[in-house]
């Protein structure tokens, strides 16, 4: 990675000491501010803190076009606790959910802030005729939007390229949906937990071949929050802090039609940045539990490869062998992922980070993986097949 700072020196160790989630639902009555408040309140409660103890707030939310409010971060700041405080919103498309705790991390690690509240919110339900319509505006307005694209095209194109390049079958990919929706049964926040079969996925409505209805995560409203503090405070607040030990992110160029979509090279870069910081040399051996971004089932496999947990084209094989089951060698999406829990975009990415935090803390309840865990990774993805964010945590 040319240009990456060679000898990374941490100013400060940063710990996660609390987290909270709202239910993820297709439609939530409360306002986006109130949803943010509920998640933030729960995170403060888990940390044993009050808002007055917090000095900085980081907000994450995907396009303004969902909630239907321009400068959404300003609006959300009220519910997120960013009242008369240093508060800002970070944004890298669908990868925002993991960028938000990364930003929280550098707020503390820099020494500029000591206790940071990280809040991600998404309310996708206000848009009419369908939240899908909002995705037309994410394409190049001159060279792509005139083709009237929808979001699923992106995923279908990438999925088909992935299938073609590595000779992967749809039934192998469908197993991700089966696993994640099943995992979500144990997640009290989940929107669409279900016991389904590969057959169900293959028989579901064809949306954009090769993508079918059960290959994808639903439209959701929801919020998530986390509290991050420096080492000194962490020791006072809890006996079981979980440390953020590596962060990484990369955006490839906008020119997605000009590169092979079979492999998420930008994710490999982001992962290498985070692994280097965390001292991980052999990800497939050293990572105990992982939450890769799974808005679509093939994406989890694609990302496990980009994270270098599986070799290129080999994630489906490991999935079949049960490696990624909750009781497997490297449990993947033990929370149920976006496929099972729901996909309020930025909140979903932070939910994945929180899932790893609860796993490492040992408080994941029925979601807790069987094996002892020490190192966990959460990852998110976004933009026009070009962005990835990675966070490494340890207990």
């Amino acid at each position: 990675m040319s240009g990456m700072k060679p000898n990374i020196y941490f100013n400060k160790r940063v710990a996660v000491v609390g987290a909270g989630l709202t239910l993820f639902r297709r439609r939530i009555w409360e306002t986006p501010q109130e949803m943010s408040w509920e998640a933030a309140r729960k995170a403060l409660d888990e940390a044993g803190l009050e808002l007055k103890d917090i000095d900085c707030v980081v907000i994450g939310s995907a396009p303004d076009a969902f909630d239907g409010i321009h400068m959404k971060g300003e609006y959300l700041s009220h519910g997120a606790g960013g009242i008369r405080k240093m508060v800002s919103r970070v944004f890298v498309g669908g990868a925002t959910g993991v960028m938000t705790p990364i930003a929280g991390w550098y707020h503390v690690a820099s020494g500029l802030c000591s206790k940071v509240l990280v809040v991600a919110e998404e309310k996708m339900s206000p848009g009419r005729p369908h939240p899908q319509a909002v995705f037309k505006y994410i394409w190049d307005p001159i060279t792509e939007k005139p083709l009237n694209p929808n979001l699923i095209w992106i995923f279908a194109m990438e999925m088909h390229r992935y299938m073609k390049a590595y000779n992967i079958k749809k039934e192998d990919i469908a197993l991700v949906s089966v696993k994640n929706k099943n995992n979500a049964i144990d997640n009290p926040y989940a929107q669409i937990p279900a016991k389904i079969t590969v057959e169900d996925v293959l028989k579901s409505e064809v949306l954009v071949w090769p993508v079918q209805l059960l290959d994808i995560s639903p439209v959701s409203d929801g919020a998530a929050a986390m509290v991050l503090v420096g080492e000194d405070q962490a020791r006072q607040l809890t006996d079981t802090p979980v440390w953020i030990e590596g962060v990484g992110w990369t955006l490839d160029s906008t020119g997605w039609p000009g590169r092979d979509l079979a492999y998420p090279r930008y994710l490999e870069h982001a992962a290498r940045m985070a692994y280097k910081m965390a001292g991980i040399e052999r990800p497939y051996k050293e990572i105990d539990v992982v939450e890769p971004y799974d808005p679509f089932d093939y994406k989890e496999l694609h990302h496990l490869e980009g994270l270098m947990i599986a070799k290129r084209g080999e994630a489906p094989k490991l999935l079949k062998e049960g490696v990624f089951d909750r009781n497997g060698d490297i449990p993947s999406s033990p929370s149920g992922g976006l496929l099972g829990v729901g996909n309020p975009i930025a909140a979903a990415g932070l939910m994945k980070t929180i899932s790893i935090y609860w796993q490492l803390k040992g408080t994941a309840g029925k979601m807790q993986v069987k094996k002892p865990v020490h190192t966990g990774v959460a990852q998110a993805w976004g933009d026009l097949m070009q962005a990835s964010t990675v966070i490494v945590m340890r207990n």
């Binding site: 306002t31 109130e34 239907g68 606790g81 009242i83 848009g127 009419r128 005729p129 307005p141 001159i142």
Partner: protein, 144 residues
């Protein structure tokens, strides 16, 4: 790039499009719902923080200071309504002059945190008491 630019008439394209979904439908949540219902009943309702006692208008689910849930039952605001500040709009934001200038005020209520926007009838003045003429969003008020 600076070495190569065209600027002659007709050589540059402007591409017209929009970012408009059909509509957005916003909900107010249970507390907002009760507040709106109160307006329909010609009442200003506020949500009270059980810890600091602040009453919020418009009613919201949480106290912005204590950051805890406000009480489930809204309280009716009975305090004096007055003009906290005001402005007069003469032109719309595309520069067209309004037929009648529009007085807009932020109305506050004694003992209440927050306030409501209102169209003001009469000569507005900071601190002046007002009478609520209609309970919509915005309110319509008359200078007393």
């Amino acid at each position: 790039m600076a070495w190569e630019k065209r600027g002659t008439e007709g050589s540059l394209v402007t591409w017209y499009d929009n970012m408009e979904v059909e509509a957005y439908v916003y909900t107010a949540g249970p507390v907002g719902e009760a507040f709106i219902k109160g307006l329909n009943d010609k009442k200003i309702l506020g949500s009270r923080c059980p810890k600091c006692g602040r009453v919020y208008v418009p009613a919201r689910m949480y106290c912005e200071y204590c950051f805890i849930k406000t009480e489930d039952t809204l309280v009716e605001v009975k305090g004096r309504a007055y003009i906290y500040t005001y402005t007069t709009v003469y032109k719309d934001h595309y520069g067209n002059t309004l037929q009648t200038p529009l007085h807009i005020g932020l109305i506050k209520f004694e003992g209440v945190t927050g306030g409501l926007l209102a169209y003001i009838d009469g000569k507005p003045e900071i601190g002046k008491e007002v009478e609520i003429v209609s309970y919509g969003i915005p309110l319509k008020v008359k200078v007393k």
